[in-house]
């Protein structure tokens, strides 16, 4: 599609626009939720990235995972995309089942349960930091993912 605009239109509109903000679309829900602290926020970064990476590791499309886990596609998109989206507990249980990860651990990662160990929190943050890229799964990402799966699979500390 070609857009035809004149220099004059661009100048007039840019001046009218001035310093106004122009963003449109849904905001991240966390903004209204002051009780979400940085630690929970970082855990959720790890949760979204974890679901995204493990899905790619298993070469599943987002639609296929939604179907296999009996999840609404929109919910799954928000889990991967919206950093502070609070997932439905059922969604987390379904994903834990598909990925063969202890449910309670995944609940903690999703911010729906409080992690009992500082190490778990630290590992989640480390994982989030190491899985920044959203390009093809690199060997570093794969390593980070595998290491984090091991942590998730450890027995819960009392």
């Amino acid at each position: 599609m070609k857009v035809h605009v004149t220099q004059e239109w661009c100048l007039v509109m840019a001046r009218r626009e001035g310093d106004l903000e122009v963003g449109a679309g849904p905001r991240a829900p966390y903004i209204e939720s002051e009780e979400i602290g940085p630690a929970t926020a970082e855990a959720r970064i790890a949760f979204g990235r974890f679901v995204h990476l493990i899905r790619r590791q298993r070469r599943m499309s987002i639609e296929q995972l939604a179907k296999d886990a009996s999840l609404d596609l929109a919910e799954l998109v928000r889990i991967e995309d919206d950093l502070h989206h609070v997932p439905e507990p059922r969604s987390v249980y379904q994903l834990a089942r598909i990925f063969n990860i202890p449910q309670q651990r995944l609940m903690q990662l999703a911010g729906l349960a409080v992690p009992k160990s500082e190490r778990f929190r630290a590992e989640a943050i480390k994982f989030a930091a190491r899985s920044e890229s959203t390009e093809a799964l690199s060997s570093e990402e794969r390593q980070a993912l595998e290491q984090f799966i091991r942590v998730l699979s450890e027995r819960q500390e009392a």
Binding site: E8, R16, E21, G23, G25, E32
Partner: protein, 208 residues
Amino acid sequence: MSAEVSAVFLVRGSTDELVPAELRDGIGELELQHWEHHWRPYLIERVRAMQAQGVPRAKWPQQLHWNWRLKATVAEMFLGQRGFATRCEGMTQGLMLVGLLSDARIVEQRGKPLVYVDYLEAAPWNQSSLQRPPKYRGVGSLLIHAAVTLSVEETFSGRTGLHSLPQSDTFYRNVCGMTDLGLDAAKQNLRYFEMTPEQAQVFLKKGR
């Protein structure tokens, strides 16, 4: 597939001079790399500074956690979604994703198809809340022009709708001339704006 490119202009914030730019029909790999490697690090750095200064979360950029790569990927899977980008001096300056499957809400237009702007974001250095003066002005107007042009091409007569982020209400109401249909409880209480065919014609002719 290469994007169709239209010659447009942005205005440099520091000098108020016109700068040649491109409006691209499509969000490609380069745009997504710009988002990942330039927009996000810039945003994260600013948010860290805000956090250090004790700025409340409500005032942090509300697009902080948008993932354009995922949005663009999902858009590719669905018919009826289109992406647009503006590029200037080699860098992506704004991104927009629109859908073609929504209907108008204004009473006299109700039920007629419109172009719905799912997401619109200017690069962080073009947002005055993050950088003053912004590097370029006019990104929002150009992207809305693209949405309205698409609406005309799709025989939707320029009808365009969107939910504005709270700090952007003034732009859509006063600069774009859209009708404010109030807060939408079904959409995070964001304000819904709609452009009628008549308003679309006025918008397209504003600079003349």
